[in-house]
Symmetry: C2
Subunit: 220 residues, 2 copies
Amino acid sequence: MQSVLLFSGGLDSRVLLQKLLEDQQEVFCLSIDYGQRHRKELELAKSVTKKLRLKHEVVSLSGIHSLISGNALTGTAEVPDGHYQEESMKITVVPNRNMMMLSIAIGWAINLKAQAVSYAAHRGDHSIYPDCRPAFIAKMAELATLCDWHPVALYTPFSHFSKTMIVQEGARLNVDFFETWSCYKGLDVHCGTCGTCVERREAFAEAKITDPTIYLKRAA
Amino acid sequence: MQSVLLFSGGLDSRVLLQKLLEDQQEVFCLSIDYGQRHRKELELAKSVTKKLRLKHEVVSLSGIHSLISGNALTGTAEVPDGHYQEESMKITVVPNRNMMMLSIAIGWAINLKAQAVSYAAHRGDHSIYPDCRPAFIAKMAELATLCDWHPVALYTPFSHFSKTMIVQEGARLNVDFFETWSCYKGLDVHCGTCGTCVERREAFAEAKITDPTIYLKRAA
């Protein structure tokens, strides 16, 4: 089985990569440069795929910046501190990011005649990111079978996992979590206070797994 | 009503543009540079939107070339001559092109809080391009309502039109067809023999509308 994986360099997609490898899948990793501040995740994606000797493509969507400005991940708005559930985190929504990334992954899968596209949407994303909701994923899975005469399956085994469950799965698979990136702020180390850092810390604590991440400071 | 239009500079989207303007819609035109040989359509898209004083964005997907190579529109394979229905035209399929383009259009529409994304899929495309089929369009329309908290409608009024009907509609709307581009070969004038040129000529002939297009040569 061949699968194109949306591989950001973040924790979730790193664990999914390891799961696909455990399942003996041939994995083609795709990272999307959509102008995110946190370039560090792309660097980690490159070093991980190089180490594992996997095919890896980085596609630039640099042309879309002017169309999707106003969010905090690509624009000039500041990345908010605090908990993911909070209303303020909605500023980190990049409009339609998942459909853009999946459309490219599906295009590549069609060209490779790969059976599947895998991505690591999980339960914790639902309340903030509309394009991580089960309804979006289910409809996208139906659409992926219609894009070409070669149907592509959408594989999202973590869609009902919490972040904590993903950390536990990663530990089971011996993932080196130090080689994954979550922070949205674009510093050299994880800030420790933005929504995704708070979520990361909580997940390790709840999973009772040692967190190897270096954080700039503790959450308030 | 605001609408983001996928505006290639081709005949179909030019007629749709005129229809949206007739309907008093505020139109935001989006052209996608996916490395197509026929750059002429992008030039025409620019000059038409400039003349009509419409907002126009051209987004480059240059990074995807290596992923979707092998087709005749972006790769090194030769654009075949002959009729659209023929098996050989399948080499002009760019894998998942429509989902890629629509995903960006929907992202822009979400950012603008526009109500709709419009694109000019038509009946004549169905047999060659899987992502122009009614099943694809219907599923994409459902998905477009789920990408964000702001639902976007997909407007495809030509999905059951033949090319001939689009030419007739364009004539009714006084579209200057000379300012539209169909040929896939990337010459300075329409070649007259590739599938899309053959289709264009037949549509004008069948519609009994004068064809202002300059063709390099007559079809065999």
